[in-house]
Symmetry: C2
Subunit: 439 residues, 2 copies
C-alpha cells in the first residue's frame, strides 16, 4: 500500500469558552470570574477528530479563523509545511508582541500550537498510538505536578448562574477560603497537598510586599520542610518579575536555604543574569526567556538555569522537544509553565512531560483551580500529585459536546474578550494599576 | 481500540558487509578496495522488518551484538527509553572517542542511530507513512546533493573477484580515471555533473599541498563559475582539518570570491574561530563540532557557520532534527556529511533532508562512488542532482537478501575489520603516515 497522503483536514471548528476561575491574585491583578480558553477541533476527510486547547482571546480566535482557509485540505502529517504556511501568512512573532504580562500574547505560536496538538491527536488516532509515542515514547507512566498556591479572595470563581454547575461547590473549605497571608497560604498548601498528593509547592508571588511573601515561604518551609517526617517538599516562589535586582538578591539570599528554585524574580535577561550571579539558588523563567529567539542571549549572559516551557507559547509539542534538546545541550533544566486550563491542555502537557528525557522538577498546573471540564468523563485525576499518561490513541481525551456548548454559552454571556487582570483588580481596589516592576 | 504497546522487537540481525570502494585519496590516506558497512535488521513480533545501515567496524558490530539482549522485546515506539537503556549500558560517548580521523568512531551514537533508523522504518510501515512524515513531513519532494570530487587513483575499487559484479565497469571513463591534478578534478567534475545532474561541487582536499588544491578550485571556478551560461555552481573544499590557521587564512582569502563555504580548514574549534574571524567565507564543520557536547563552546567562540550533520554520528534522525532546531536558534546553517555508503543510508539521509525546514546547501554523499547495492531494485537514482523522497511507508527501501549475502561474503573474504586509510596509503607510498595537521 502506497500512502499518497495522510488524512486531510476537512473541517476546523473554533469554539471560545469561558470557564469558572477563582479570584486568584497575581502580579497583573486579579483573575476574572471566568478564564477564556479556545477549543479547536479539526476533522479529517475520514471523519476523525483531533482537539486542542489554547488561551482564549478574540484576537487569536480571529487569527485562527483566518488560518482556516490555509489549513483545509492539508495532510495532518505535514506539520512542517503547515508551520511554514502560517509563518508566511502571519509572520513570525516579535518579542514585543509577547507583552509585559505574565502570560504570552504572541499570535503565531498560539495558532500553530492549536493546530499542531490537534493534528498530533489525529495522527495518534490514525496510527493507534498515544501522542507521547509520537514524541519518542514515554519515560514515565505518570507526570508529577506541583501544588500551585495563590493568594486569593474567598470563593471558587464565576457568577455560577451562567450555566454550568462547577464542582467548585465540592471544594474543601481551605481551597474556597481567602488566602491573604502566610497562615492562609499554609492552610491552602495543606489542603492542596492532602487532596491531590502534590509533593512540590509553588507560590505565585508578586502580590504583596516581598517580606510578606518571603514569610509565607518560611511558613511553608516550617510546615513542609526538612523536619517533616513525610520528607521535605521542594518549594518555589514566582514574583512574576516584579522585584528589583536589589530586592531579588536581598530576599533571594534569605530564601537560599529553603528554595528549590526562584522563578522570574526580576524582569529581563540582563537583570536575571545579575541575580543569578549573586545567588546559589537556581533561577527559572517563563517571562525573560520565552522564545527560541531569546535563547542565544540567555545562554550568552547566563540569564537562568531552568526554562519553564509551555507548548502553547513555544509552538507545540515537537518544538517543546527541541527546546528540551537545547536545554540539555546547554546544561539548562526544563520544566513547565501553566495558565488556567482544562483537561485538553493538561493531557497535552502530560504527554509532553512523559516524553521528556529528564524531569527533575514537578510541572506547574492551574488545573486544580478549575472546576469546569470539556472532556468526556469529566475532570482528570491526580494521584500522589501526578497525572497518569493516557494510553488511548492520540491525546486520550474526547470532547464532551454538551459541556463545550455550555461553556461556549458562558463565553457569550460573560462578555469577556481577553484576559485583563488589571480591570478585575480595579473592581476590588479602585485605582490599582499594573506595574512592570513594583518592589 | 486501546494500544497496550507498539510492535515489539523479536529479532535483531547484524550483518557486516564489504562494498567495493574506489581508490579515493583523503587526509587520512587512501580508501581501501572495500568499505565496511553494517546492516541492521530488526524484526517485530508481527514479522515486520525495519532496516538501517551504519559505518562498519568489528568494534561497533560487537557492541551491537551486546545491545541485542537489551533490545529484544522492546516496543519500537519507545525510542526515548531505548536510548536511555543503551546509555546506561554503554555510557555516553566522550569527545576523545571520536578520534582524529575524518570519520567518527564513537560507539553509542552509531548503535543508537542503527536502532533508531530501523525502528523508524518499522514505525513508518505500521503507520503506513514514509519516515519523513514521522519527522513532521516533507518540505520538498527531492533532496539535492553535491558532486563530491576526490583525488583518486585509477579504478572503481575492489578486487572484483570477491563476488558481486559492481556496476563500476559501466562507469564513464572520467570517473574510472585517476584525478591527481586540477585537470583531472575538472574532468571528474564534468563527468559527475553530467551523469547525476549535480548543481553544487565539493572537493575533498587535504591530499596535496594547498596550492595545488586551490588551483583545482580555481580551475573548477573557471569551468563552473559565474561566466557559465547554465548558471554558477557553488563550490566548496574540505581540507579535513589538515591546514594550519596561517595556511587556512592565506588560501581562504584567495578563495573568498569563489567559495560557497570552506569546510574544516583547520583542526579544533579555537582554530576554526580564528579562521572564521579572518575570512568572509562561511566555515562548515563535521570534524570540529561533532556532538551536542561540542555545541556550547562552538556557539561561545563562534567556531563555524554551518554544521554538517550526520544521523549516524549525531544519534539518529530525531536527534538530527533537534540539531536543526539548535542551528536555527543560534543562526547556524545545517547541511549533511557522508561516508561511503549504500542506499539504506541514502534513503535515511533523504527522509531527513526532506524534513529540514531550510536546506540552503546541497548535501554531501559518497553514493556515486559506490557501485554495489543491498536494496531491492538496485541503486537509487539522481535526477538533476537530487534524490526523490520515497513515498512508500518507512524508509521506502527493502533488503535484497541475495545482495546482502554476497556483500557479507565480500566482508568475510576481504579480511578488513575497520577503516584504516593509512595502511592502504602505505601500500602505495611506503612510509606514509597520517598527520593531524600537515600544511
Amino acid at each position: 500500500m502506497i500512502p499518497k497522503s495522510g488524512p486531510r483536514i476537512r473541517e476546523m471548528h473554533i469554539t471560545p469558552i469561558a470557564i469558572v476561575d477563582p479570584p486568584l491574585l497575581n502580579a497583573a491583578g486579579l483573575h476574572a470570574p471566568y478564564a477564556l480558553r479556545t477549543i479547536v477541533e479539526l476533522v479529517t476527510d475520514d471523519g476523525i477528530s483531533g482537539i486542542s486547547e489554547i488561551p482564549g482571546t478574540t484576537a487569536i480566535d480571529a487569527a485562527l479563523a483566518l488560518a482556516r482557509n490555509l489549513l483545509i485540505g492539508r495532510d495532518v502529517f505535514q506539520l512542517n509545511q503547515i508551520r511554514r504556511v502560517l509563518e508566511n501568512h502571519f509572520g513570525t512573532d516579535s518579542a514585543a508582541e509577547r507583552g509585559l504580562s505574565p502570560w504570552d500574547q504572541r499570535k503565531l505560536v498560539h495558532i500553530f500550537s492549536a493546530i499542531e496538538v490537534a493534528c498530533m491527536d489525529i495522527i495518534g488516532k490514525v496510527t493507534n498510538r498515544p501522542v507521547v509515542d509520537l514524541l519518542g515514547g514515554k519515560m514515565r507512566d505518570a507526570v508529577p505536578f506541583s501544588a500551585y498556591l495563590f493568594y486569593k479572595y474567598e470563593g471558587a470563581g464565576g457568577p455560577l448562574e451562567f450555566g454550568t454547575e462547577p464542582n467548585a461547590r465540592g471544594w474543601p473549605a481551605a481551597r474556597q477560603a481567602a488566602a491573604l497571608d502566610p497562615v492562609g497560604i499554609v492552610a491552602q498548601a495543606k489542603a492542596m497537598c492532602h487532596e491531590f498528593g502534590f509533593q512540590s509547592i509553588k507560590l505565585k508571588g508578586g502580590v504583596f510586599e516581598p517580606q510578606q511573601e518571603v514569610d509565607a515561604m518560611f511558613a511553608l518551609h516550617r510546615e513542609f520542610g526538612p523536619d517533616r517526617s513525610a520528607g521535605a517538599v521542594p518549594l518555589r516562589i514566582d514574583p512574576n518579575a516584579l522585584w528589583t535586582v536589589e530586592t531579588a538578591i536581598h530576599y533571594g539570599k534569605q530564601m537560599e536555604p529553603i528554595l528549590e528554585y526562584l522563578e522570574d524574580p526580576v524582569r529581563g535577561q540582563a537583570n536575571m543574569a545579575e541575580v543569578r550571579k549573586a545567588l546559589k539558588t537556581p533561577l527559572a523563567t517563563n517571562m525573560c526567556t520565552t522564545s527560541f529567539e531569546d535563547i542565544p542571549n540567555s545562554i550568552a549572559i547566563g540569564a537562568e538555569d531552568i526554562i519553564l516551557s509551555d507548548h502553547h507559547f513555544w509552538g507545540g509539542l515537537r518544538a517543546s522537544m527541541t527546546l528540551t534538546g537545547i536545554c540539555a545541550t546547554f546544561g539548562r533544566g526544563l520544566s513547565m509553565h501553566s495558565n488556567s486550563h482544562l483537561g485538553i491542555s493538561l493531557a497535552a502537557m502530560v504527554h509532553l512531560g512523559a516524553a521528556l528525557p529528564h524531569l527533575p522538577y514537578a510541572l506547574d498546573t492551574h488545573y486544580p483551580w478549575q472546576s469546569d471540564e470539556v472532556i468526556v468523563g469529566g475532570r482528570l485525576r491526580f494521584e500522589n500529585g501526578a497525572v497518569a499518561v493516557p494510553t488511548e490513541p492520540g491525546l486520550g481525551v474526547e470532547l464532551d459536546r454538551d459541556a463545550l456548548a455550555a461553556l461556549h454559552q458562558n463565553y457569550l454571556a460573560c462578555g469577556l474578550t481577553k484576559r485583563d487582570d488589571e480591570i478585575e483588580m480595579q473592581k476590588v481596589q479602585p485605582g490599582w494599576t499594573f506595574q512592570a516592576v513594583r518592589w
